[in-house]
């Protein structure tokens, strides 16, 4: 069968993120960047299993997760297809947010923080913020 492979997955075993979440995140990213569009087929479970030497249950779990999010739909015997993209309305807001962040980073530099400190501070704040969001 001549099938166009839209994306390829890869796994980072040093990340501490579950392989199924990594697959989901890679699909999210591809949807956000427009690399995957409505109608595109995700690699078959067998393709991913063979390419990455990973557990089919991992791929199935990721695809099920994406289905639950309403991003893809499985057609039995055919494959899994994108039904919604993530290129969303927030895109116009990215540029001003980035400028704010750059301004903040310049301030951090002026205050004497080096790259590592800035990253650590950002990550810590982000984590605390995300935790608040969950709670």
């Amino acid at each position: 069968m001549n099938r166009l492979m839209m994306i390829e997955f890869h796994l980072d075993s040093r990340s501490g993120v579950s392989p199924y979440l990594q697959v989901m995140q890679q699909v999210h990213r591809a949807l956000r960047l427009g690399l995957l569009q409505v109608g595109d087929q995700l690699p078959t479970v067998k393709d991913v299993v063979t390419a990455l030497a990973i557990n089919p249950n991992t791929v199935l779990k990721a695809y099920r997760g994406l289905e639950q999010e309403g991003l893809v739909a499985g057609k039995p015997g055919v494959g899994t297809f994108v039904i919604r993209t993530l290129t969303d309305d927030s895109l116009p807001a990215h540029a001003p947010l980035r400028r704010d962040l750059e301004r903040w980073m310049r301030k951090a530099r002026l205050a004497g923080l080096d790259g590592d400190s800035i990253e650590a501070l950002f990550r810590d704040t982000f984590r605390a913020f995300a935790a608040e969001d969950v709670a």
């Binding site: 796994l11 075993s13 040093r14 990340s15 501490g16 993120v17 579950s18 392989p19 199924y20 979440l21 479970v45 067998k46 299993v49 063979t50 990455l52 030497a53 990973i54 557990n55 089919p56 249950n57 991992t58 779990k61 650590a120 810590d124 984590r127 605390a128 935790a131 969950v134 709670a135």
Partner: protein
């Protein structure tokens, strides 16, 4: 959740020494379960109990719904690849397939033939002349072509080079995708198993240290570090797996289902290997097992 393999209070004693003690685990049907632990931890003993090569001293075990007692009906449900993937050196690849067809009522000759083709093995070649990787693939083919419900492999990739290792695991995953079965495989290296397993049992010094879903292990374990403090002050839902202190700092690996809010801690994610090593480093009775840990790192 039904279990394809279930052990309750399972134990095996050789003379005075317990090779496996108080082992209670359940491997869900359809999962791929890794059995990790240092050499001598009891992995092979558990596997031999599961396939019926050993009889338990204590407790019970069921595999694919039956007791491993060597009866034909039970043997047909379980595929087994022993340590170092043994084959008959003097027999050809074709001989092995014929043997498999004679010995197994549910033999899938089409599957076996297709696999040998795909692997590019010469049916006339004697098994003794095959490379380690090819021999392992032949042994896997034989075990899968009997179409077992549960496939058990004892250190299948330990003696293979990295490429053959990857090929073997890739073949195994493909076969699971196509035919669906529960797999239990052991290794003393977590790295071999982390991609292929969705379930993990860690054995150290004849005891199960942890048995859990891999995604859950990754989601619930964190390393926290911060200014020195007593760990008894942690919230009740945070279980300490491993901890170390300096004069000023405390670092710990904890298990918790809840987010960690305390701003004093800096929190980092852990890899599966980090988590397993933390469990391996302690027997559960607070006694560190330095020797086994050193072995794990050295290999």
């Amino acid at each position: 959740m039904t279990a394809a393999l279930e052990a309750a209070g399972l134990g095996k004693r050789f003379g005075k020494r317990w090779a496996l003690q108080d082992c209670t685990v359940a491997v869900p049907t359809g999962s791929i379960c890794g059995l990790v632990g240092p050499n001598g931890a009891g992995k092979t003993t558990l596997i031999q109990l599961a396939v019926g090569l050993l009889a338990p001293t204590a407790g019970s075990i069921t595999v694919a719904g039956g007791t491993p007692d060597g009866r034909p009906a039970q043997l047909a449900k379980v595929g087994f690849v022993a340590q170092d993937t043994p084959t008959y050196a003097q027999l050809t690849v074709a001989d092995h397939l014929r043997l498999g067809a004679h010995l197994n009522p549910g033999w899938d000759a089409a599957l076996a033939g297709r696999r040998i083709d795909q692997l590019g093995l010469d049916p006339k070649q004697k098994a003794g002349k095959l490379s380690g990787g090819q021999r392992a693939q032949l042994a896997l083919t034989l075990a899968v072509a009997k179409r077992p419900e549960v496939l058990i492999l004892d250190e299948p990739v330990a003696s293979l080079d990295p490429l053959a290792r990857r090929d073997f695991l890739s073949s195994l995953m493909e076969l699971v995708t196509e035919h669906g079965m529960t797999v239990l495989l052991s290794s003393h290296l977590v790295a071999d198993l982390e991609r292929v397993c969705d379930h993990l049992v860690v054995l150290v010094a004849s005891r199960v240290q942890v048995a859990s879903d891999v995604d859950e292990l990754l989601a619930t374990h964190r390393r926290i570090s911060g200014p020195r403090r007593e760990l008894s002050t942690l919230p009740a839902d945070q279980q300490v797996i491993e901890a170390s202190h300096t004069d000023r700092q405390t670092t710990a690996i904890i298990r918790t289902a809840q987010p960690i809010h305390d701003p004093a801690w800096s929190v980092t994610e852990l890899t599966l290997e980090d988590i397993v090593l933390a469990y391996m480093a302690h027997r559960g009775d607070g006694q560190p097992v330095r020797r086994q840990l050193a072995e794990v790192r050295a290999s």
